[in-house]
Symmetry: C2
Subunit: 424 residues, 2 copies
């Protein structure tokens, strides 16, 4: 029954019942975690062939004519660029392959802009004020990077089509202190939504007040579909930016962290030639190049992009029941109550749950007391501050299905309990 | 015969002879390289066991109780810290293991100091002036990192015991703009000299005017001895700094780039707990951690530090004849002439050659014309500017012994020719 239609007495009776249920769950001494967007062990097992994909019998030279084992090849081996090109949807020559962490590339990109500017612009450390737009709810580690550099973070609301583009245009086209925006355009973290064609075209057509404004397009879940017959296809920001006369306005990021091994994947950036040249100037000073054998390992393990796509279907098969378990629990337990809403993603790693305003912190704290760790309430907003205190990120990938079922029971019970506490 | 004892006529006759010899070598269409401190292919073959050191049958959890394949373990797996501890001579808890490049750690360290300061000090980007001391001749990539951040580089002469410590003390103890010094304390690049106990004790006893002054102790060749019975042992800067009451004043860097594979090794920093805590604060924002499987690969391939030391003996066996070939050629061809001097390293990757003042650029250019690429003259000095134009870095490791012999013939002939051009 919808809580809003219940009398005070009914709510009180229900509170007693839910409280009893909560205490019962608490008594079970659970120790579960729905906080981390980490692949489950079953997913890691899919990539064990990586470990002996490169053997002592392999040719140790490739298209770059350099020994994979030795120093050299600053921007990544050609074979790996070609493997990743269809994933990040840019030609090999517009790609730099890094080490294992796309977050590290993004950090580097912000750090380089801060110390040396962007393609000749004033270094951000020499400016009085730098601002970044943050579609919310979003990814805490994005926000943390910009916060670490003292950049002012501005919330941009999102709906099912992506960020509020009126607001984005207003800021970007008029305020030269606005230097970038964090985007997860496909199966967004945490909402799972994908940007509509119109949103992406409006992104590409921005007329930034700042010459060094860049769209940080973190396509972390570009090939991370859950279903064979129901998946998102988004426009390529590079192509749209070129069409709109803004060829240098984006950086695309991607990685194989959630394709092979999260700790031992390869990450890459794609951008216009002018941007790639500017980045390479720094890389020449920063390193002699990233791990080429690990790049080769990926090339050999997958053979081609088709191999990578086939591999992703195996991930999807393991993840579908986990997403379904959470969604079923939310639907059956919270659906009738009217006290929460959530997203139903077709891919990615998260489900976004909105509980009653002012209740998210309480829900997460109740979960914790009952042995279920959730992402901190507020984490999906800059400075950890969710103005409505209502958003909770659910990460269903790491626990086993049986654990998930238990964890969801705790979660929905906590959502109800917090709402009832507020209503009575 | 010593050139200084020859008459003008004798010199002219010799010039004619040397010139003929040079033209003859030039006619051979050589294509050789003594510029790069890269291991030879024979050395890379020593580590092929790395490629299948970790297999699908291995336990995927270790002392940190985290899956090696997944996200997590920010500062490196415990097993790898323990492997590297005796190499870098610091306890595991004072070590952070990074990716494949110690240069990248050094870049990060400078960049972090520039953007965020050092343990609470003013970020260097907010200061009018930052200076760095550069013992010369030294490593061009060190100098390049600090130059990239607009830091003023100051030459510090070195002798067989290390940098001129009177000058170092004068700068460090009196000028708060001096924030660091680049050191390669053992088998220095390019001279091959190792710092004496007295030099290291004077380093440890500095009384810096700047609270954020740090010694950048790049122990790149810490276990890279050429001989079993004749090798350098240097004092540990960490221990000496602690004894002298300066526990936070150093960063030690090392890597396995010239132990296993240059492109796929592991690199580390060791420092006091206060420094490690400060660095970790940044790393938490920068990455989710480096490649743990590659760390495990090193642990399994070597078994222990003894395994690593045994492995280094195999490198030494391959390198000794190469160093000997160069030294023999210098000794027999240039020894009697009095126009050059050079170092006789017991380890490391380089031999440092000083030719007649004002001749280094000419020598390198003559070599190039005859098909032998040497490190650019001046590269061993900040801003590529060797005030005496006399130092040339010889890297004997990459060419085969037969190639080395030819390359040395070109080199010594060019040294003679340049000197004779100057003398007549």
């Amino acid at each position: 029954m919808n809580y809003s239609e219940m009398t005070k007495e009914q709510l009180k009776a229900l509170h007693y019942e839910v409280y009893k249920k909560y205490e019962e769950l608490k008594g079970m001494g659970l120790n579960l975690n729905m906080a981390r967007g980490k692949p489950g062990t079953d997913q890691l097992e899919l990539s064990m062939g990586m470990l002996n994909a490169v053997t002592p019998e392999d040719m140790m030279k490739g298209k770059d004519e350099m020994d994979f084992r030795n120093y050299g090849v600053l921007t990544g081996i050609q074979e790996c660029k070609e493997l990743l090109a269809p994933m990040i949807e840019s030609p090999a020559e517009n790609i730099i392959v890094y080490g294992n962490s796309s977050l590290n590339i993004m950090y580097d990109t912000i750090s380089r802009s801060y110390t040396h500017g962007v393609m000749g612009s004033t270094p951000w450390c020499k400016l009085d004020k730098v601002k970044f737009l943050c579609p919310v709810p979003g990814y805490d580690r994005h926000f943390a990077v910009t916060e670490f550099f003292g950049i002012e973070l501005i919330n941009i609301p999102t709906d099912n089509n992506g960020p509020d583009m009126d607001m984005v245009e207003e800021y970007v086209n008029n305020d030269a202190a606005v230097k970038g925006i964090w985007c997860v355009p496909k199966y967004s973290n945490p909402t799972g939504i994908s940007y509509s064609d119109e949103v992406i075209k409006r992104f590409a057509s921005l007329k930034p007040a700042a010459e060094d404004f860049r769209i940080f397009w973190d396509n972390a879940y570009c090939i991370h579909d859950l279903f064979d017959d129901d998946f998102a296809v988004i426009l390529d920001i590079a192509e749209e930016c070129e069409k709109a006369g803004n060829p240098d306005m984006y950086y695309k990021f991607a990685s194989t962290s959630k394709v092979t091994f999260p700790g031992s994947g390869v990450a890459c950036i794609a951008a216009s030639k002018a941007n790639i040249d500017w980045i390479t100037r720094q890389m020449t000073i920063q390193t002699i190049g990233h791990d080429k054998i690990n790049m080769l390992r990926h090339v050999k393990f997958f053979g081609s992009f088709d191999g990578m796509k086939a591999h992703m279907k195996k991930h999807a098969a393991l993840l579908r029941p986990k997403f379904a378990a959470v969604l079923n629990s939310l639907e059956s337990e919270l659906g009738p109550t009217g006290i929460a809403s959530w997203t139903n993603p077709k891919g990615g790693y998260f489900i976004s749950l909105d509980v009653m305003e002012g209740c998210a912190k309480r829900v997460v704290s109740l979960c914790k007391e009952a042995g279920v760790v959730m992402t901190s309430a507020g984490a999906t907003y800059p400075y950890g501050n969710d103005p409505k205190d209502s958003n909770i990120r659910i990460a269903p990938t790491l626990p086993s299905p049986a654990e998930l079922e238990k964890a969801c029971e705790v979660l929905v019970t906590s959502v109800k309990l917090a709402a009832l506490e507020k209503l009575i």
